[in-house]
């Protein structure tokens, strides 16, 4: 007769092996590597918690210290390849196979290791996609997670950076997997229970907070006049006419400029209360002036942001906060919110081709996807109407009767025609294609597909791809805002002029914008210090962003 509880028995065996290193659930920091050798089995699927923000860094370092003769061939299923130790485990043979989502800081090294065959790649996912697979075919046998504090029963307080933890624990613990948490300290009573203790099997006191990258902090001091011009175009040419109230922003300087210009330029246009009221967004410091000026009603966050915790706690009407007063973030929920409950995503990219496909991959850097493809896609399952969604749908498909017409989420790519080092934003062929050939991947790593993109904003103007009726128009609409790049200089001037007459392309002057008005005095804060002052001293920027 079949044993229907083999997984539970296997977990019990692992717990028993680990218990010899533990007092109750608590494992000493000094025993971490042998402890991991005791609870892991070669070939395990392991989720090492870490995304573009928080990292279970102490557990990651310990995993890289285990003996490859004992533990090898692990299959890592994790959001982020961010710390050097995340790749060390592959170099040492401790891990072999990888399914992941984001690899920003390790983009160059992961590319080298993929080319070198040291990593057997499953796939590069979006966050939400990887989370989904945790519940279907990539369920972890062991999860190594991070929290702020724990009590002796294993109840965890994750603090403002909850992020991926509930999702990882849900998938692991309820499918007979083992959950190990690193915490800064063990306390008698946690400030709030983010993860109930019966889902957590072992806890290690790291004696220091887990690492968090201040990824969403953009220094207003670095925003250029051209970026300000693109922000003026977006506010006046997209946010205002579509009436965008629910939205998500990427992390680039163009969108930071938009955030900083709401209380100045947006106010002058009379848009307060009419746009940008509800957000799926991390606690961007650059949104502080808009919040303080009464623009924002509420924000749900994927994670927190270094230095923003006190400000958030003092603004509970705006943010989601727990009984302890601090932020509650949740990446899976916020990704879902960005996908289904927002009418606009706007973000920057490195390359856009003539079909509107965009990618942040270059041939020697593989940064992964993170959440952008979810934010930057049109959810086919959406059913609730909203004004911008219906308007965009009508522009794309004027002939279908309204009751049967799908709306469209606005997916906007914003950027300058030339990036750092005079590298053009617009290309004939994405580097992602060369990469796919080199690695023999069935799919090129495209961040946002052309058929999801509705608008492209550059300093030359806005291209509304919804209004293009064929591939030729689409190509010329893209060329028509591609500035002095080679793509832009090879435009069909006659067709571009006709597209402009139809409003497919809109120049700054078509919107009543003088590029010479694009001035840094339009920024509600011109420095990180201004942001700290605007927050009433509640925002405490990390040292690397200070000039005081």
């Amino acid at each position: 007769m079949r044993d229907w509880a083999t997984q539970g028995a296997a977990r019990a065996a692992r717990i028993a092996a680990g218990a010899s290193f533990a007092r109750g659930k608590v494992v000493a920091l000094s025993d971490l590597a042998p402890f991991l050798e005791a609870i892991l089995r070669p070939g395990d699927r392991v989720c090492l918690e870490g995304d573009n923000q928080k990292q279970a860094d102490v557990l990651a370092d310990a995993l890289a210290e285990v003996d490859p003769a004992v533990i090898h061939g692990l299959h890592m299923v994790q959001s982020g390849i961010v710390l050097p130790s995340h790749l060390d485990v592959f170099e040492k043979g401790i891990a072999r196979r990888l399914d992941y989502s984001y690899s920003g800081p390790q983009a160059a090294r992961i590319a080298r290791m993929l080319y070198g065959g040291q990593i057997e790649l499953g796939a590069v996912h979006t966050y939400l996609e990887l989370f989904a697979r945790y519940f279907i075919d990539l369920t972890p046998q062991v999860a190594l997670i991070a929290a702020v504090s724990a009590d002796r029963d294993g109840n965890l307080y994750t603090g403002p950076n909850t992020e991926d933890t509930p999702t990882v624990v849900e998938a692991t613990s309820f499918k007979d997997g083992l959950v190990v948490a690193q915490v800064d300290r063990i306390v008698d009573r946690v400030p709030r229970v983010d993860i109930p203790g019966d889902r957590v099997h072992f806890v290690v006191e790291a004696g220091k907070p887990f690492y968090v990258e201040p990824l969403f902090t953009r220094d207003p001091g670095a925003i250029t006049e051209t970026q300000i011009l693109t922000a003026m175009l977006a506010i006046k040419g997209l946010y205002a006419p579509y009436g965008i109230r629910r939205l998500n922003h990427g992390i680039g300087f163009n969108t930071a400029a938009i955030e900083l210009m709401l209380p100045t330029y947006g106010e002058k246009l009379g848009l307060r209360g009419k746009v940008c009221t509800h957000w799926a967004l991390n606690p961007h410091p650059t949104l502080i002036p808009a919040i303080e000026a009464g623009w924002v009603e509420q924000i749900h966050c994927f994670g927190s942001e270094v230095g923003m915790d006190d400000y958030i706690a003092a603004r509970p009407d705006i943010y989601f906060t727990g009984a302890d007063g601090s932020l509650r973030s949740n990446r899976a929920f916020c990704q879902t919110a960005g996908l289904y409950a927002c009418d606009l995503f706007i973000g920057s990219t490195l390359q856009i081709d003539l079909s509107g496909h965009s990618s942040t991959v270059t041939t020697n850097r593989i940064a992964g996807f993170g959440g952008a493809p979810n934010m930057g896609s049109d959810p086919r399952g959406r059913r609730h109407p909203s004004e911008p969604w219906l308007k965009a749908g009508a522009e794309a498909d004027p002939d279908t009767p309204a009751p049967l017409r799908r709306g469209r989420k606005l997916v906007v790519q914003i950027g300058e025609t030339f990036g750092d080092g005079n590298v053009p934003l617009f290309v004939e062929r994405l580097d992602a294609l060369a990469l796919a050939e080199k690695l023999d991947l069935p799919l090129a790593p495209v961040m946002v597909y052309g058929d999801d993109v509705t608008h492209i904003v550059t300093e030359e103007g806005i291209a509304n791809l919804l209004l293009c009726r064929n591939a030729d128009e689409r190509e010329q609409a893209i060329r028509g805002v591609a500035g002095y790049t080679e793509i832009g200089r090879r435009r069909d001037a006659g067709l571009v002029a006709r597209l402009r007459e139809r409003g497919v392309i809109r120049r700054p002057e078509d919107l009543g914008i003088d590029p010479l008005d694009a001035d840094r005095s339009l920024l509600a804060a011109r420095s990180i210090k201004d942001l700290a002052l605007a927050s009433g001293g509640l925002y405490r920027p990390p040292s690397q962003f200070r000039n005081w």
Partner: protein, 307 residues
């Protein structure tokens, strides 16, 4: 009421830190009163940068000329901190030498808008010598009765020889962003190691070299907000004092600096210095607004008649 300006701070339209040298000068003196000497159209560029295949600037990063302030004639020099980090080369330095010599012969006051990383390495010997000439011309002008006021709040700070020139001035006006120092953080780190100075720790950089610390120590005389209006008000204020540089001044400076070493010589960090000054919550100083900072800075060391 416009909520856009209903914030707890109201910056001036022009940020000194961000402005170019030309913008600063134009906004500082009486409108339209600045007349540049050896302007960009004369193309007095560096004769040495071509050797390094580096781009030139028509004014070599130094603007000098005459202007009026509240109708009174005054001489002005401004460094462009974004061109080669405001570094002093042959032409750049010679323009300031010429201005200071003119100040002495014409008995005029001088404003120097510092923004410099120090000597320009590509013309290091010329730059170093120019610093020495500037200091001598400055001292001569002051001895003859001119007042020379340094204004510090630019991106490149006031480093290297710039720091020495600044300390020769009659008075210094500084913003929080303004840094005054001799050796830059990166150079200290390179020479002495990251344990001595972690150049990436920006909070450390500013509390060691920044405007608030210099003001509290008497290394600067007026602390202002980041805008030309604030600088103008401060210049008016310091120009009320008579110009003076004699042995009494230097004896007073000697006593002032010896007292500083005696009081704070054992401190290893600025926060300890500020505590020793009598500031209760010294660690909070960097985060304070200008108004709040001035309120706690009443216990500062001053350099009145001792610079």
């Amino acid at each position: 009421m416009n909520p856009a300006i209903d914030l707890v701070f109201e910056p001036e339209a022009l940020s000194w830190y961000e402005a170019s040298a030309r913008q600063r000068v134009a906004a500082l003196v009486d409108p339209g009163s600045f007349h540049e000497a050896v302007g960009a159209e004369e193309r007095a560029t560096s004769p040495h940068l071509a050797l390094f295949d580096l781009p030139e600037q028509f004014d070599d990063g130094m603007i000098v000329g005459r202007a009026t302030l509240d109708g009174a004639p005054i001489l002005v020099a401004a460094q462009e901190g974004r061109f080669m980090g405001g570094a002093v080369g042959e032409v750049h330095g010679a323009k300031l030498v010429g201005l200071l010599r003119a100040a002495q012969s014409l008995s005029l006051d001088v404003l120097i808008l510092f923004d410099t990383g120090g000597v320009r390495l590509q013309e290091a010997n010329a730059g170093e010598t120019a610093i020495a000439e500037i200091m001598r011309a400055l001292v001569d002008a002051r001895r003859a009765g001119s007042r020379v006021v340094g204004l510090i709040g630019g991106r490149s700070g006031c480093y290297g020889g710039g720091g020495l020139i600044a300390a020769c001035c009659s008075a210094l006006v500084v913003t929080e962003q303004g840094r005054i120092s001799v050796t830059g953080p990166e150079v200290i780190e390179t020479n002495r190691g990251v344990e001595e100075f972690d150049a990436r720790d920006r909070a450390l950089v500013w509390r060691t070299m920044g405007g608030k610390h210099r003001y509290l120590m008497g290394g600067a005389d007026v602390f202002v907000d980041d805008g030309p209006g604030a600088f103008r008000d401060a210049v008016r204020e310091v120009l009320k004092a008579p110009g003076r540089l004699d042995l009494d001044t230097l004896d007073a400076e000697q006593a002032r600096l010896e007292r500083r070493l005696a009081r704070f010589g054992a401190a290893t960090d600025a926060v300890a210095v500020w505590s020793a000054l009598g500031i209760a919550d010294a660690a909070a100083v960097p985060g304070l607004s200008t108004r709040a900072f001035r309120a706690v800075a009443t216990c500062r060391e001053s350099a009145d008649d001792a610079r």
